[in-house]
Symmetry: C2
Amino acid sequence: MTAPASLDPLFYPRSIAIIGASSDARKIGGLPVHLSKLRGYSSPIYPVNPGSPEIQGLKAYPSVAAIDGPVDCAVVAVPAPLVLGAIEDCARKKVRVAVVFSSGFAEAGEEGKRNQDRLAAIAREADMRVIGPNAMGAFSLEPGFIATFTTAFEHHGGKGFPEIGPVSLASQSGAIGIHVMVMLRERGLGLSKWVTTGNQSDIEVSDCISYFAADAKTKTIVAYIEGAKNGRKLADALALARANGKPVVVLKVGTSETGALATAAHTASLAGSDVAYDTLFRQHGAYRASTLAELVDVVAALQHGRYPRERSVGFVSISGGVGALMADKAEAIGLSVPAMPDAAQERMKVISPLAGPRNPIDTAAPGMSDMKMTLSFIETAIADGNYASLCAFLTHLAYIDRHFTVLRPGLMAIRKKYSDRIIALSMTLPADIRNALEKDGFIVCDDPSRAVECVGALWRIGEALRTAAAKAAPPSVPAGALAPARGAAGEQAALAVLASAGIPVVPHAAAESAEDAAAAAARIGFPVALKLASPDIAHKSDIGGVALGLRSAAEVEEAFAAVMARAKKAAPGARLDGVTIARMVSGGVETIMGVNRDPVLGPLVMFGMGGIFVEVFRDVAFRVAPFGIDEAHAMIREIKGFPLLDGARGRPKADVDALANALARLSAYAAANADALQSVDVNPFIVLPNGEGGFAVDALVVPRAETASGSH
Amino acid sequence: MTAPASLDPLFYPRSIAIIGASSDARKIGGLPVHLSKLRGYSSPIYPVNPGSPEIQGLKAYPSVAAIDGPVDCAVVAVPAPLVLGAIEDCARKKVRVAVVFSSGFAEAGEEGKRNQDRLAAIAREADMRVIGPNAMGAFSLEPGFIATFTTAFEHHGGKGFPEIGPVSLASQSGAIGIHVMVMLRERGLGLSKWVTTGNQSDIEVSDCISYFAADAKTKTIVAYIEGAKNGRKLADALALARANGKPVVVLKVGTSETGALATAAHTASLAGSDVAYDTLFRQHGAYRASTLAELVDVVAALQHGRYPRERSVGFVSISGGVGALMADKAEAIGLSVPAMPDAAQERMKVISPLAGPRNPIDTAAPGMSDMKMTLSFIETAIADGNYASLCAFLTHLAYIDRHFTVLRPGLMAIRKKYSDRIIALSMTLPADIRNALEKDGFIVCDDPSRAVECVGALWRIGEALRTAAAKAAPPSVPAGALAPARGAAGEQAALAVLASAGIPVVPHAAAESAEDAAAAAARIGFPVALKLASPDIAHKSDIGGVALGLRSAAEVEEAFAAVMARAKKAAPGARLDGVTIARMVSGGVETIMGVNRDPVLGPLVMFGMGGIFVEVFRDVAFRVAPFGIDEAHAMIREIKGFPLLDGARGRPKADVDALANALARLSAYAAANADALQSVDVNPFIVLPNGEGGFAVDALVVPRAETASGSH
């Protein structure tokens, strides 16, 4: 798997043109020239400005056409009305990537949207890639190509560049891209490539993630996403990064209604539902940070390329209280806090009689004055506790020279000796010391809870990278599976679709007369349910169209007549296609499963316990289709109501294998019919006791064309 | 309401003795002498050391008895074996408060516990208050009394003292007390009083909160609590602070099992359940921070003494993405994000055509270069949006001098003009600028989500302070309410207790024969339930001791015989006291309510929807008893299942007033019988449709002596 070659000219251009170049190094058209020179970009720079023969000491050109060599990348820094002309010039010049700063396109209204479409069409025709328009551009520190107009490099007296390092960042928002860059820089973290995609007329954040996934200089990928145009491309990019062992830390806004609305207004794009993105990120092993601060802390923690081999974490704290605080956080995020072996506990008690040696380990007061003891406790925890990760709370010790001069080399020796372990330090300390400790391979957070969160993030990311290859494949869809056809949304048709997709359905039969119904019931076996079949009546139980628990042919015949009479009275003129006779089951657990087409990310599979559990308690789990049996099992175990399937309150354990199998098959069917399917609603899917299977009892399949828009 | 006078000698001593004083200013016995001198403590300091006639330039005394004046406060810094002697000396000298640094007491095992009890007894006898033992002591910056041995004042070349300011802090843990002090100091926040209570043989954090609540120099109270000895005292302290308009920010560890275990080991105290503490804090308006970092940020936000008048918050962001991120957080924590008025939106669009003027307000790119425009957007949001709070995301602008020299005075002018509003800034900036902005009345957080959290905290704290006086009083317990008597835990006795407490119970009657049962059923009205009454059979339905839905006298008589026969067979020799006949109700919603005695905080009232909702979904709400009708309403609305009472899925709305009334009455009864009551379990309490009331159908009342230990 290789990255799309077409982004090389953006990050490693062999020549660049700046269209609308300015002699003023602070102007939007002057900055790329100034900054690329400053950073030693060594290939040709061609300023384009019809009014100046020379720009910032470089020969300038009156037009793109006049440039005497080929141009890999062109920066477009002209007012909106001049942009289309510049893009046409670039296309003729066979420029390979254009970076369009100019705003006034899709974000500005209908006319802007048309101009942007035109821009994209010209570029596509010429096989030219485009960043933007309305983008803050990109930079690539190794070659020194700085195609952005941010003022952030002015900081610190003009020394505002980050170091060169292994983090690459792609952001849909320029402001967030720069803000994160500044935060990483202040943290002392190095960057390789930085790109903001603005209106994404061509290149999306997904493309950049794919490029970074294959880029040898990038070890960690940071992404800020508001909405993707193509969910499959995003999923593939995340999968590629995971397969190549590169962690992706992502921030996505729009968890709230107001936030989602703001994002939609801001990007002029259809965002897709937040739950679908959240599901996609988790399924593909991307770590979703919920705040900018968490994002930066997790990126810092990833720099050492170490992941905990398992969940266990040991705590050494000069404060019993902070030890407990860290243990609280660890358990809340799914880490484990096993006790130290007894022998080691006894040794620690000999060293410090008032110590709490269990885990969290409390050095007690001597930990504040006897650094050798504190160090020996840390090493004992790592060596004898054999924890995958260790968090040490060392409060303000870095401010006390006589202690820190002992502590610092001691910690470093432990860091070297136990090179496979995660070691996180929580200390209040000056930024320069923090940055130095981070460079030496420690996670450092002043807040102890955040230190634990970073360990949790590493564990989850490590797990995702380790299991990339081990995921079960989605089941294959049976040959001859029915398509979700228009007008076939009735219960019988829906059950037929499910059955054709390999999902077990309740034994049932259609019947057009009372006699047929009684005969069908006899074949299926009593008791049965009788349900009205009519393409015109959606909610059959509301009009008395359902009779349950019928125990004899006579009861079935009587129910047939009653149901038909009620239907004719309630809905005169409705087409009545007889009834469905279905076996009544008892002793199972009612669940529901469904599919909804997300406008961006495609079919999203839902699972829950049905009824009030879904409607009132919102106790549901989601996955992007398709997925395999292991993911289905994880999904089932995600809901709070899982104990109801697992023998809670003296019930028999339900056949969760059969349920998982049905969910995986439903996901495979949904993915195979992604373009044709709007939604599936299986309600209920009854899960029988272990070994007895389960089946869909009622269902609705809605093909895509039947609804006007996405369901979210 | 005044503070206990007995803590004045701790925070404003008129003379101090240091027992175990050292000439070495870095030793535990040297530091209080050195630091108090350094800080200009101007009343007499009496070092006590039998080996030196002079300590650090002061006359030293061979014993406490030899001191020639009275001693208000004595610091005890001698090894554990000498402590009891020193305390006896202090008692004889009529010392008013002793601060005992020495460890080796309750935290060290049984013998230490005995010595600590002896220490407390000596002090109590002499009317002397005690901090510790095993405490890091206290300091009070106004008089310059520094009775602690922390090394934190060594920081910054010996300039590690915080400024004098309005925050006072009480911490059970010395290490956490110091860590928070350092964090507040680095934030530029001033302290008044600081105290760590160690083993709390006498003075608890609760006592200190009460003192701070009445202390004119304290405006904000910070508390770290692991476990209280007396929940009532803690509740009273929090209530006093609230009544006096002083916010309390509290950190408490032990939310997880491991954390709680660690805390218990650490403090050698019975901690009480975390949920009980959490409930207590919320009921009394204390803000519980979940991390040290949040604690410090919220304390910083409280310094300006401003609270939002209501939930609305406006956002101005130079990044649409961050605006959405902040709106997401605001909605998640219960703030509201109303849109700007249309006219103001149109004005903003004129100023910046690409702006998003709704709320969150996006300045678009010009916000990064045109500071006057950014400032006008902020002022427009405040003036025209009329938000109680405003959050502005200004990214890295403080690093760019030419912009910040415009922004800073502009912000200040807005701050002055709209003095009643909360203004929070989210910026990445150097610590000194952050501290200066905070001093000028802004909330400043580099993380935008945290800035929103601070606004949310201010809103919640402000609400709590505003509503302190407005809470409905708990109902009074009816005269003649029955006590929870031993041996009367059966259903009929329990229902009698509830009825006597003013809680409606199902119409029911006892019957000892089939004929009696049939007659009772006729009086009560069919259908009825018949339930075995036996003091020896706890789970009557397990042995077939319950018959439901009996519709006639004949059915009742038949059921009586059947139940008795089953009981005799299942439990030969059990005492059978006949049956209870109770009316069967339909159409109601089943809920459960209960009381459990927390070992520290007393009776805790629980409410939930019963069955799997409680057992599987843990959907329950708690309150510390007693409480009034408004708190009961809040409690009912807290559970996720509330829609089931509020007409979800086409049900009739239930009589929530009747339910709230019953909960408040149960709480009043529990509080009035706190010492005698272990638990109450009302299961179910059926709530009928609105206007029809509700009643307890079955119950269990367990008096305290019947169980060996606390129920948590």
